[in-house]
Symmetry: C2
Subunit: 483 residues, 2 copies
């Protein structure tokens, strides 16, 4: 199906007309302090789930469910603390239509004026065409966006071109506790007819051009524990007489990556899929520059000097970062300690076609060999402490194509097809558990400051974002069902 504009102008006009109501809806959502990482604010997170149930009910959703996830596992202060529920809802149940599952989260990062906010973080404040407030872009804006789309259709008297399922969770900022289990459980139940999943919980690469995101790197996190003396020792008394665990650890950590970011563990790059000609050409059009990277890092520490090289190293090549050392002296000033046990932490960002298990083997064997070469009397244990696989979608499938057309229609420009260097583990979970495609369709800009102070969402992004989400459903509905 090639791009033929659908007659969506009435929808766009309605959305423009409802703009004040949509801002008010987001304003109410932002005013609820649904910080999942602060136990004392857990009632507010629960209040936010009730707010959503009320909105969904008023908009005519059916089979609305609050999925209880039980007690929050330790570490918690309150051993009776319950996880906030997952909100499920359905709009339309026509077996002739395709079914789109949208995911979003209603919890937010902590925020307080004292952190340096220019405005009250839990009050949506409009300054010119920008809406400031915690959760405005991450992820209450997009969640309200889906509700806005339904409202616009109802006021127009339009039928929705697809069946829509919503899945809104309240623990995304705190590890999505309970979500994987719920998806597994509902895959053949609530989610059984889902054709595709759309997640609006990431951002444009820059500030001027919409993007569709088709790839994420994975992350394998390792630690190297080196054990020596029975207790921390005084460096005056023992320095020069005992094999110090720090010396061994630093020696090993220094041989993992070089100053240019090249991973020194043999065999890792052999697993990386070669860059094809087709893929190579994708990078040329993308709106990005070394200056943007430097602005984002607040420094001139870029390792690559062209847009293409930077983006490839962010998205499709592996990287290794040394994060720190547990057990060593980490305070200010001076302490003359020989730490008895030190644990070095590092992680590798993974990309196609790195096999996670094979990577672990390469990493751990390499570290053990380096340690053996030291002939140290200390002992070592190198291990993986967690992993999450990379994700790459086919950016030419129906869902991405529908999002491409929707974006072109609304923004009057072709979006960039981007990946991200970080991971959104839930993406892979949906793909694997439901056996469907997943589309990442962001609403906000790269400078929105999610997780930071002065988080914001530009009104054009909010309103055109609503149009894009709605249009996506219409274009997607035009594709032949795969069922």
């Amino acid at each position: 199906m090639s791009f033929n504009k659908l007659p969506l102008e009435p929808l766009y006009e309605k959305i423009e007309e409802l703009k004040p109501k949509f801002i008010e809806r987001l304003s109410k959502a932002v005013s609820i302090k649904s910080v999942s990482g602060d136990e004392s604010l857990r009632p507010n997170v629960v209040e936010m789930s009730a707010f959503l149930v009320n909105e969904l009910t008023n908009l005519g959703f059916e089979d609305i469910q609050l999925k209880d996830l039980g007690i929050q596992p330790p570490p918690v202060n309150d051993p009776e603390l319950r996880l906030p529920p997952i909100v499920l809802g359905r709009y339309g149940n026509d077996s002739k239509k395709k079914t789109v599952l949208v995911y979003g989260h209603y919890d937010v990062q902590p925020a307080s004026k004292e952190d340096g906010w220019s405005t009250e973080p839990f009050e949506l404040v409009q300054v010119e065409d920008i809406l400031y407030g915690r959760g405005s872009t991450d992820d209450k804006g997009p969640v309200m966006g889906w509700l806005n789309v339904i409202q616009a259709h109802r006021e127009l008297g339009w039928e929705l071109p697809v069946n829509l399922l919503v899945c809104f969770e309240g623990m995304e900022e705190s590890g999505s506790l309970g979500l994987d289990d719920l998806i597994a459980k509902e895959a053949k139940n609530y989610f059984k007819n889902v054709d595709t999943v759309c997640i609006s919980d990431n951002y444009w690469l820059g500030t001027t051009k919409p993007v569709l995101t088709y790839g994420l790197r994975g992350c394998n996190y390792y630690q190297i524990a080196i054990n020596g003396p029975g207790a921390d020792l005084h460096s005056g008394v023992f320095g020069g007489c005992v094999a110090e665990p720090m010396t061994d650890l630093i020696k090993i950590m220094s041989q993992l990556v070089d100053g240019k970011g090249k991973i020194l563990i043999p065999g890792v790059y052999d697993m990386v899929a070669p860059v094809t000609e087709e893929e190579n050409s994708l990078y040329d059009d993308i709106d990005f520059s070394v200056e943007e990277l430097n602005a984002a890092s607040g420094s001139n520490t870029a390792l690559h000097q062209t847009k293409q090289d930077i983006l490839k190293h962010r998205w499709r090549f592996p990287s290794l970062s040394l994060h720190g050392i547990e057990g060593a002296f980490s305070g200010g000033g001076a302490k003359t300690v020989i730490p008895a046990k030190v644990i070095g932490k590092f992680s590798i960002r993974t990309v196609p076609d790195i096999d996670s298990g094979k990577l672990d083997e390469l990493v751990i064997n390499y570290i053990n060999k380096l340690f053996k070469d030291l002939s140290s009397p200390n002992t070592i244990k190198a291990e993986l402490i967690h992993d999450g696989n990379y994700w790459v979608s086919n950016p030419f499938n129906d869902s991405f194509t529908a999002a491409l057309y929707a974006t072109q229609h609304v923004w009057n420009m072709k979006p960039d097809f981007t990946r991200e260097g970080g991971s959104i583990p839930i993406t892979l979970t949906f793909e694997q558990q439901l056996g469907t495609d997943v589309l990442l369709l962001p609403m906000g800009r790269g400078d929105d400051g999610a997780h930071s102070i002065n988080e914001k969402l530009n009104i054009p992004n909010y309103i055109n974002g609503c149009k894009t989400l709605g249009s996506y459903l219409h274009y997607y509905g035009k594709f032949e069902s795969n069922k």
Copy 2:
């Protein structure tokens, strides 16, 4: 003067007779919680100084002074907090006699039953011939020892063979704040006729053989700060794209010392005084073994397999320890951070004839060259953050010879002449400010657990220690005055 036993048996008998009173004196001292590191216990530290003034007064000391050291400098919770006073006292003022200044400290390390003590730490508890309690060996035992010596002389009706000055401080466990200034100020006043200084504030090397200590290593403490991004970054978004400060720092730290403890900074060993034949032979007799080192470190991580090699590396060769990193991730678990600024900490234990300033130059130039070779866009600042010089005395001078004779007389064996790997900065201050020799004459054993739980002093060490301190004054008094 060769060793001819002086007729000191009456003194020894008197000390044995007074043993219950001496234990009672130590018991009173231990019961005062004079923890200098705990602001809330500052009144108890002051109470301890009053206890000493009372004892000195009863024993006939003259010109007793409580030297006020003013307000404790920050960081403190109470900005009005006063330092505990230094207690000075004089016993005898005969210009025909030599003058010995003894130094000790009346403050102690923190202690609480919850730390794992088997007994109440601030109660002197006797179990068989061992006295348990905080400060028993460090340093209330030796301080009471000097008072005991005077009491024994008085009860015998003996004149003291020297003039004795005492200088007891209350901040030794908290950096000896104010002491350097006081010594400088009193060098030409209260301390003006001092011939030698005797400090009893260290320990035997082992548990069976007395020692005299004639050397201490110094310590130059350095930090390497590497600055990159403007703020901590997410390793998913920036990993592979920016030069990470941790990578540079670990690279540099890995090139400072090898796994065998060899310092890799060129030129350091060139400054180390060669081991002479005479010195070499000193190590053979010393009571020590690799098993004792392993027992002390709680591991089998010794870098050297002979007693001689271990002791030389502890006492008279430099060593370099990597202490840790400030600014990197140091907690448990996993955090995918790229730290923006990291500060590596390490120190070098110094020995004769390392020139401290020249060492700084070698170290900092070497680090800067290593960094330059990395061609990193980050910035570096390597610097010394504090230093203290090594100290070595002539172990054949009058003061050491007197202590040798005293030890032979009391213990019926020759003491080991030892050094220590750590530093006691005040030793060098007395030597330099007063222009006299300093003798380190320990009372307690190597396993007394100063600074640890279940700190103890064996009664034979306490009582024979008193005899040794007293005998030392007698043998020293027999030497011709240097004045």
